[in-house]
Symmetry: C2
Subunit: 423 residues, 2 copies
């Protein structure tokens, strides 16, 4: 009973760190994931592990921006004018003739502008004609020098840095990498994240409900969150509420080839909080076991042999928020993301009074929306750390600073968009 | 020459429809993708093809929201008070005793509150004690009736509609589906999208640059865009610039088991615009071949045997925008999304003067950002339909209405967030 009480006292009397300090302590311990070379066609959603420079200028030739005629603007001083069409220039064709006074070349969008020409005039401003069996074009309007011509290197100079390691590969990156001829790219491999749950109250999703038991939902939620951060979740069997077995299972996981281990549940001050017990006596270094935030203040994390171990709350909303605020920045950093964890945070107007009193900053699931150029945020449904049904409706977290009186509608508060927001 | 001229005239003199009419014409022809039952663990990112109701109330028992003691508030009228602890209630345990006057039960977060108790008092507000070998708890502060107890059905009533067909399965949906015991879910299968390119100027990404040729980048970009809409891209070999061959290849694709075909390039008024030629003589129904928008006005689409065929511009930015504005709403609708195509659009303040003159609405790649509760949008880099290098930096499209004088900074304009924005 004494040992038991002392352990409970240690679980109760934890020193709370700020969220910022907790995030920094984690980021200080991040080791980037290994890299792998993959085919560009498979690379969407990965993060680059190499800087990418233009090999050649883009464009590497004077490119027509229009379907029309490559002409000499000097020929347009007296209008209308008839020019002899001396060549047809589909895209991909290298001109064989120089545009000399009185001549023009029919050119397509993206085609190489012939020497001698200093503008392209769009087809809609021209009329086809014929003189003595030769094709001509009649022009009625002048265009400035350079019109509809992209000069060499307009988009990028040769050797220009175009993409940086750590950047996520989306449609724009794919366009650029393919244009540069990067048939293979070096990317960070997707971090592998073991997700385990604790708690003897948990049923499998295949089981019927009974008594005081509930189905295990956090591991499925975490798996989707982890995926939204570009990582691969690994479902692990449930950890038993029997300390020696739980301990050996946790060490086995930490020794396996996953990049990190996330446990949900068992971090609180209860007598059956097996993850809190593990943090009290493990061989790893505990980075923090209490954060000055609600919900999820008992959220804990540590390092064992360079591998991060997270103990998230078992309460669905607290678990969700712990993953967004602590696991997500780490997963992005592991994949080379260089931006700060809170780079996406911004201000928004609180749409309704927030009346709950807080000693700690509170991270409340919210709905961000726009109206007439202003950003608003409103609380989404129930704000209990146990509430799970309304998690699906949130698209951000709103940050409520410590307050003894609540916060009035119209006040600016910080919002953090969710990783997997579909709104 | 006459036939050739007539064809060119038909390509030139197209009737422009509005973007809204083009989108509606497409949505009117959408057939939803087939459905498939998959394991919940694999369901993240799919869209539900069935409505989901609560089978039982959530929670299905009176649930403690705290670690502490289940008590009768009537016992707290004189403080401090000592209550006998008659039972330990870890999560998942069904109480065997009723809380009677003078008694309490130790209860964990998520535990089932025993009959007789009408509140839970948090552990931090209590002191353990002992009297005659029996465990007691001392309380010094009153709590209101119902404190820290979630009543049955607080989150959802039995049979309540919780998720609707068409909803995308993210972390919140995963939490709910697993809590409800949906070990398998009925989802729309991912639409399969064939992506083909045209144009004899295109090199493979493995080829060195030469002459006036460029590497094929639109198909990689489109593949990433299509993926961001939950669909599977299918890369198809390049279409030759030889009409009979191109035509037979396009019919072969339309007859294959893909859900739609997207071609990029060859939709304009040029002599070598093979997709425009195809739309002039194919067996399908052309829905539109010109849209009153820039860039991408020659964007075309039609239906052949219930299958949609898109002809997007070959210009990278015009192709990108055509996919966002026309293909994306169709792909979402195929997967059961019920919201309107433009549900995500909202207003933002133009951060700098926009001076280009437009006869048509212009969809300009932009960067949306926030400052002091206001939403701004600025033009991202070069606004040429040929510009590809800066595509990666955009996180929205900004809609510039037709203007003869430009639009002043500070004006509210519509922005459309991109499907695959990583910002």
């Amino acid at each position: 009973m004494n040992i038991h009480k002392e352990k409970n006292d240690r679980k109760l009397h934890r020193k709370a760190v700020t969220l910022g300090d907790a995030q920094q302590a984690l980021l200080d311990r991040v080791h980037q994931a290994g890299t792998v070379k993959i085919a560009l066609a498979d690379a969407a959603g990965y993060r680059l592990a190499e800087d990418i420079r233009a090999r050649e200028a883009i464009p590497h030739f004077r490119r027509s921006g229009m379907d029309g005629y490559a002409i000499r603007t000097a020929d347009l001083q007296q209008l209308p004018v008839m020019l002899e069409v001396i060549e047809q220039l589909p895209c991909g064709t290298v001109p064989t003739k120089v545009i000399t006074p009185g001549t023009a070349a029919r050119i397509m969008t993206g085609g190489m502008v012939p020497d001698g020409a200093d503008a392209v005039i769009m087809l809609e401003m021209t009329e086809e004609a014929e003189q003595a069996g030769q094709p001509y074009v009649q022009l009625r309007k002048a265009v400035p020098v350079g019109a509809n011509i992209s000069p060499i290197g307009e988009e990028a100079r040769a050797q220009e840095l175009l993409l940086e390691a750590g950047e996520s590969i989306g449609p724009g990156q794919m366009a650029l990498l393919s244009a540069l001829g990067c048939a293979e790219v070096l990317v960070y491999r997707k971090p592998l994240v073991a997700i385990v749950s604790t708690g003897s109250e948990l049923l499998s999703i295949n089981d019927p409900l009974e008594g005081a038991k509930i189905r295990n939902s956090n591991i499925y939620m975490l798996a989707a969150q982890v995926r939204a951060c570009g990582a691969e979740p690994l479902f692990v069997e449930h950890i038993p509420d029997d300390y020696p077995n739980a301990e050996s299972m946790l060490y086995k996981l930490l020794k396996s080839d996953v990049d990190m281990v996330i446990a949900t549940g068992g971090v609180s001050v209860g007598d059956y909080d097996i993850i809190a017990d593990f943090f009290l006596q493990w061989e790893g270094e505990t980075l923090f076991n209490k954060i000055a935030m609600r919900p999820g203040s008992p959220t804990s994390a540590g390092v064992w042999n360079n591998k991060l171990f997270f103990g998230l709350s078992g309460n669905p909303a607290a678990c969700f928020i712990g993953c967004e605020l602590l696991v997500r920045p780490v997963l992005l950093a592991i994949q080379g993301e260089r931006k700060a964890a809170d780079v996406q945070a911004h201000d928004a107007f609180l749409a309704a009074d927030y009346n709950k009193v807080n000693a700690y900053p509170r991270y409340v699931r919210g709905i961000r929306y726009f109206h007439n150029g202003l950003v608003y945020v409103k609380q989404e449904g129930m704000d209990m750390s146990s509430a799970m049904v309304t998690l699906k409706d949130a698209n951000c977290l709103m940050v409520i600073p410590p307050t003894k009186t609540g916060i009035k509608a119209g006040t600016l508060v910080t919002v953090i968009p969710l990783a997997a927001s579909t709104l």
